[in-house]
Amino acid sequence: MSTPMSTHAVHPVHSSEPLLSVRDLRVTFGRRGEQPFKAVDGISFDVRPGQTVGLVGESGCGKSVTSLAIMGLLPTRGNTVEGSAVFDGEDLLRLSPGQMRDRRGREIAMIFQDPLSSLNPVVQIGRQVTEVMERHQGLSRKEAMPKAAELLERVGIPDPKARLVNYPHQLSGGMRQRALIAMALACKPRLLIADEPTTALDVTIQAQILALLKELVVETGTALVMITHDLGVVAGLCDEVNVLYGGRIVERGDRHTLFSRPRHPYTVGLLNSIPRLDAPRGEALSPIPGSVADNLPWDSACAFAPRCPNALDVCVQQTPEWEGDDVVGLRCFNPMGVSR
């Protein structure tokens, strides 16, 4: 960790079978007396061992709900979950809460934006890490303690032995996130879902955490689902990128193609609206007009139509269907750079 290095995503071509296969996932929140709200409206994607798949989109597009549904962490009432999420041959959405609890923390782990919410505030960091090892690797606490210190050191926590007896509130945000990654490392999950793991952190700390995640994927072959609103993070980390809008995936591609030849007007709009550190200065940004409040229902239109510079008549009359497969794809009647 302390070695200054240039960190590339160095993932091989993914010929292997998907480890997680999400198909037509739908999550509807039923607010009493109101129209049911489709937070996730038919999302499908695959993740293979050693692959990093990004879910990117603006606030409210359904990123977190997607991951919570897969992890069985949505509130038990007030929503319906449809579709399937097959992990290693087994549909996670059909498991009992007890079975799911057993998978979580062992085979599947999740890290959140706010690490404090996933750490127990009244248990020392060392105990929390060793607990995972005791539970999943059958070690005694005595055996696990030195391993825990080793792990904390690996994730770049200074003076790890002293940190073992600290409580979460005594660590900074970056330390806590690293402690959580240490716990994820301790159970060697096959699938890791990271929901905005660096959004609350400074860029220099973010760079450390992202480097750590890359290492984890390369070294252990963990499959990583990376949820973020930051296209820069996606560009450096993800093999495959899914752009979400209004609860659906609107474009998918490998990161090189998606960033060099984006096709969906929303993807293009996003890329044109962010200032780049390395771009020539002085050029005005091109914002996407309006806001998500203007969205149309997907049932009979393209949700993005009111904000879309390419919109045609058909866009407000019909739903653009997904054209593509589990590697590339697009949902648009009039994509960029085609019939214009």
């Binding site: 960790m1 302390s2 070695t3 200054p4 290095m5 240039s6 960190t7 590339h8 603006e58 505030p121 009244v122 770049g156 200074p158 003076d159 002293a162 409580y167 509130h169 005594q170 660590l171 900074s172 945000g173 970056g174 330390m175 400074d202 860029v203 220099t204 700390i205 973010q206 760079a207 450390q208 992202l210 480097a211 609103h229 930051d230 296209l231 820069g232 993070v233 996606v234 560009a235 450096g236 990161r255 090189h256 960033f259 060099s260 709009g269 609206s273 962010i274 200032p275 780049r276 550190l277 390395d278 200065r281 940004l285 091109s286 914002p287 996407i288 007009p289 806001s291 998500v292 409040a293």
Partner: protein
């Protein structure tokens, strides 16, 4: 956009020409006492939030302040607006020390500088209509004298920030985040300020909305000749809108330069690390560029390291000077660096010429009791031991 707002750029208080010094900060320090004890508040130390800053902001320019959470950006911005009393040093606004003013004179000066906050929701009173919010500031400064002029002004303000006049009768919660930020900007503009301090003006907004607000700020500046101090942690945003940028580390400026040059020729090791850490939405760039990963966290501002404050994390740290003498901001003679470019590093020339090699840094334990930059979460200081009291 120019000419479309109807707001008058030649405001009566605005006298100076563009390029003149508007704000002059010298030797500014803001220290907060750290209190301990339940019954008797004992001061057990000080957070050196701003610890010796010199900078000037010229009329009509945008000065950007960047740096890690807790480095003192917001405190510096507030001190410049006289919202935080300085422990030492001075802030001159058009040559006048605001801290020395009282009564009517202070009130008159006050309307010349305004603040735009990060979270538009928490900075706008939810029980007031937009009209009432805008009128509040104008009334406080005696600008609401003629009903028909006020009526016109309110509509002009709304149009200046791209909102329909019908919005005046609505409440903040009826607007989206981006629209609320526009209301915050309209409120700042309502009293006709010269300087606007914008603290993280777009960080709470969605990416697609950020650009709308950034463009609005730029258009208004051009049209009204405003001067901005923009405080933000997003380097790409700051570089985009600023003319000059100051990089802060633990309460002090470590580098200051013209915005483009800071990225092209970063001279301070911390700036280099910061620049290399900002993700760029381009896989080719991400794959090819070299990252300088820093180890550890920002040391506590209550107990900053001796000498150069960055020496505990600096990959170029040297045996001499670095941990004993605090480097001053100075102009250096390095290829590609212009005279306005200042840096606080003893070894800036040697590093720029490649005469000093980068080396590994072991993460270092810093101050135990207040580890990690306490954020603006209302509880900056933590008990040294034991679980939190529920």
């Amino acid at each position: 956009m120019s000419g479309s707002t109807g707001l008058d750029p030649a405001h009566d208080t605005r006298t100076g020409a563009p390029g003149e010094v508007l704000v002059e900060v010298s030797g500014l320090e803001v220290h907060f006492p750290i209190k301990r004890g339940v019954v008797f508040d004992r001061t057990v130390g000080h957070v050196r939030a701003v610890d010796g800053v010199d900078l000037t902001i010229r009329r009509g320019e945008t000065y950007g302040l960047v740096g890690e959470s807790g480095c003192g950006k917001s405190t510096l911005g507030k001190a410049i607006l006289n919202l935080e009393p300085p422990t030492a040093g001075s802030v001159l606004f058009d040559g006048v020390d605001i801290a020395s003013l009282k009564g009517e004179a202070l009130r008159r000066e006050r309307k010349r500088f305004q603040m735009v906050f990060q979270d538009p929701m928490s900075s706008l009173d939810p029980r007031q209509t937009v009209e009432a919010l805008l009128l509040e500031g104008m009334r406080a400064h005696g600008l609401d004298t003629d009903a028909s002029a006020t009526h016109t002004r309110l509509r002009e303000l709304m149009s200046a920030v791209g909102l329909p006049p019908s919005g005046l009768k609505k409440y903040p919660h009826e607007f989206s985040g981006g629209q609320r930020q526009r209301i915050g900007i309209a409120r700042a503009l309502s009293v006709g300020p010269d300087l606007i301090v914008a603290d993280e003006p777009v960080s709470a907004l969605d990416v697609s909305i950020q650009a709308q607000v950034i463009n609005l700020l730029q258009d208004l500046q051009e049209e009204l000749g405003l001067t901005y101090l923009v405080v933000a942690h997003d380097l790409a945003v700051v570089r985009h809108i600023s003319d000059r940028i100051g990089v802060m580390y633990l309460g002090g400026l470590v580098e200051e330069s013209e915005a483009g040059e800071l990225y092209d020729v970063p001279l301070h090791p911390y700036t280099r690390a910061l620049m290399s850490a900002v993700p760029v939405p381009d896989p080719e760039v991400e794959d090819s560029r070299e990252q300088i990963l820093l180890t550890g966290d920002l040391p506590s501002p209550a107990n900053p390291p001796t000498g150069c404050r960055f020496h505990t994390r600096c990959p170029w740290r040297q045996e001499t000077l670095c941990d004993t003498e605090r480097p001053q901001l100075r102009v250096v003679d390095v290829a590609g660096s212009s005279p306005g470019h200042r840096v606080a590093c003893h070894w800036a020339e040697e590093i720029a010429r490649g005469e000093i090699e980068r080396h590994e840094v072991a993460p270092e334990t810093t101050d135990e009791s207040s580890w990690g930059a306490p954020r603006d979460d209302g509880s900056p200081f933590l008990a040294p031991d034991g679980p939190p009291v529920p």
